[in-house]
């Protein structure tokens, strides 16, 4: 694995508040990393720090040399880092082609045009080269912004909420086109998003961020199945917390005993995904509190021995409210952490 970029203890303060608080992260060449967090958690600020658009207050950003550090700040134009902005930031006074060629001023005009057209072909918009940005749809503008950022063949490209401005029915298509273009370019990419599904579907690596800090990094599967905390778990989807006691690497719950490898004895928390609860004939008895039909699945609220849990399941016969059902816990979709 080659490292495209390393963040080490990066801090950014706005007044007394740390918008980015000691963030360390490694981006691998050719891989897509998604940075997921709620709005205002500092993820966009982190992107601007990486691009050199803001000076940082601590830590370092480095490739094989230091880009931002305590005493050095390489200006953004010297960093070889592409940026796709949330509002795309296309230049309204230039044609699509000139927008894409904007960063290629060192090349000859002919070479510049060739390169711009190549990029436009990669995002399937070569036929719009002479158009002006205002005449394009949102999805087309997004792809132009991507082509423009990739035209300089940067080692790393940063994408700030690249699909947030698009209508729901466009998103899937543009997302696939973006992934394809990024893979083709072979560049490292860091995509900021607040959409869990988007992050899970796109990422090779996932970084979960909240209140300026990275909560967890890992593959999407690992982050989803084995969250390190309730906050990290909830960034990726609903989760039921169950307080419990660990004794000898085991923890007892109303739904049976759970493995708690590596945890010392004491209080802990089981984090149970809604889909870990399934209806079986021989499970633990539970009272149905509420039942919401949601298409392929149903959301069911259950009470099991004084504990309220939310379940999500595919059922043919929907359980009736106030009736009793029997529940089994799928151990692969829950994890025990030190609370």
């Amino acid at each position: 694995m080659t490292t495209a970029l390393t963040l080490d203890g990066v801090r950014k303060l706005y007044g007394a508040k740390a918008a980015v608080d000691r963030v360390s992260l490694t981006l691998e060449a050719g891989k897509i990393t998604c940075l997921l967090g709620p709005s205002g958690c500092g993820k966009s600020t982190l992107l601007r720090l990486i691009a050199g658009l803001e000076p940082l207050d601590g830590g370092t950003v480095s490739t094989d040399h230091i880009l931002s550090g305590p005493r050095s700040h390489l200006p953004p134009e010297k960093r070889d880092i592409g940026f796709v902005f949330q509002d795309y930031a296309l230049f309204p006074h230039m044609s699509v082609e000139d927008n894409v060629a904007f960063g290629l001023k060192r090349l000859s005009p002919a070479e510049r045009q060739k390169r711009a057209l190549l990029q436009l072909q990669r995002v399937h918009l070569a036929d719009r080269a002479k158009a002006f940005p205002q005449a394009l749809s949102g999805g087309e503008q997004q792809r132009i912004a991507l082509a423009r950022a990739l035209a300089r063949e940067p080692a790393l490209v940063l994408l700030d909420e690249p699909f947030s401005g698009l209508d729901a029915h466009l998103k899937a298509g543009v997302r696939d086109a973006t992934l394809e273009a990024l893979r083709q370019a072979g560049t490292a990419a860091l995509i900021v998003t607040h959409d869990a599904e988007e992050a899970l579907m796109m990422a090779d690596h996932l970084a979960l961020m909240d209140q300026g800090q990275i909560l967890q990094t890992g593959t999407p599967q690992a982050c989803y199945r084995h969250p390190v905390s309730l906050a990290a778990a909830r960034l990726l989807g609903p989760a039921n917390p169950i307080d419990l006691l660990v004794k000898d690497g085991k923890a007892d719950t109303v739904l049976g005993s759970l493995d708690a490898p590596g945890l010392t004895d004491g209080t802990a928390m089981a984090i149970v995904r809604p889909e870990a609860l399934t209806l079986t004939a021989d499970g633990t008895p539970a009272l149905v509190l509420a039942n919401r039909f949601a298409g392929a699945e149903s959301w069911i609220k259950l009470r099991i021995g004084g504990l309220d849990l939310e379940a999500r399941m595919v059922t043919r016969a929907s359980p009736v409210v106030d009736s009793q059902v029997f529940i089994t816990l799928d151990h692969s979709a829950c994890t025990v952490t030190r609370a």
Binding site: R48, A51, G52, L53, E54, P55, H73, P75, P76, E77, K78, R79, I81, G82, F83, F85, Q86, D87, Y88, A89, L90, F91, P92, H93, F102, G103, K105, A145, R148, A149, R152
Partner: protein, 535 residues
Amino acid sequence: MTDLAVPLHGARPARPSALRIGAWLAAGLAILPLLAIVWLALTRPSATAMPLSLILRYGLTTAALGSLTAVAVTVLGTSAAWLVVMYRFPGRSLFSWALALPLAAPAFALAYGYADLLDVAGPIRTALRASFGSDFWPMEIRSLPGAAFVLSMAFYPYVYLTARSAFISQSVCALEASRTLGSTPWETLTRVALPLARPAIIAGTALALMEVFADYGAVSFLGVQTLTTGVVRAWSVYGAPGSAARLSLLLLAVAAMLLWLERSGRQGQSFGANSARWRPLEPKPLKGWASLGASLFCLSLISFGLLIPAGWLAYRALSAAPEADRLIQAAMTSFSLAGMGALVTVTLAALIAFGAPHSHRIKRLASLGYATPGAVMAVGLLAPASLIWRGAGSGGSQTVALALGLLILAYAARLMASALGPIEAGLARVTPSMDRASRTLGETENGTLRRVHIPIAKGALWTATLLVFVDVLKELPATLILRPFNFDTLAVLADRYASDERLAQAAWPTLLIVLTASLPIIILSRKIMQSRPGE
């Protein structure tokens, strides 16, 4: 205009760039004359001081003139804007830009026209006497109400333009909501539309009042003694720069207040954009008498504001052959001064817009100059000017050049803010992320300026140049005070003829100004009409 809420961190590094220093210098130039006034007022005791009672009378007259004009321009400008935005009637699309046309005429042009037209010996009162045997004309034009009438006609377009853009930016949703909640159209106007547009209307009235207080040519010709004529008299009659400076301080205080009003009005303009769903207003057709009335109202504003006085002046001008040499000389002087003034002013304003896009302090300094009457600006530059004249005697070409430099500085200090407005509006199309995009695409800060900011603001820079050109062309008091000896612009020439009661001669340079200014004003007002919110 648009203050972007997102500060542009880092793209402008902590170290002040050359551009930012330039911006501070430009703003410094704008307030230099104002500082000089304070210094003059405090340090120069004048032996031939103006009597206090005189100053008091000037102040009261100015206050009365301001109040009358404020009411008139607010009512006229707002009604015209409401009609043009909300209703469909014959001539509406023509009126919507032509209502701004009186801006092409300096106020003194209207004063000359009306004073002559309504004079005891003028055509109207002569005709009245001939038909009825007696002259029962109710209003003397050379009076305070007369001056208020003239200035209202000259300056209502300021309110019209701001009120119009405020009404246009209102979403029909708010108005329809008001109707479904049981309000009649009239109640909708008074309870929703007017309160929404109030900040903009106040801003427009404040702009008009700035012009009223700055006016010298019209009021002095109509024999109304205001603070501004007082400033000029203190300098020219009493030869007392200290007194002039102390009067100027009063005017500066008023200017600062108006500026505050205008600022708070402008901040409130974001009212209209709050509505999540913006739908344009669909003007309602007027029928019968109502439609005729609306057309007549708009037509009479344009007539009283421009067509009648300018037409009468043209008629008078044709009765006398112009003194061609003086006229041509003055025209050349005017055009080159206006050209140079526009160039310098727009360059300085661009420095501020590009170099300090988010510094409110710098812009506030620059706009203080805009609220300052030209006469006051000139008095502020008198100290350096008199040094120059004393140092080199009169007539040396170097002296003339230096004096012209001061005059252009006075224009720049006064008009920088009016050039800044359109430039900033143009630059509002450059979002912070465009700036950042350019940087991450390998452009330096200066390269970004060259390849992104300037091309996007190009149209706005031309607009600003035209605006300043027209304003310099119409400018009188500062030119009168600061110009080198025997250096006449068209406005100065008109003033000299008019004060000799040679009105036919005065009409020639006046009309030249109106004609020259008309083209830019037509271009600008049509351009404003085409723009819609969100563009």
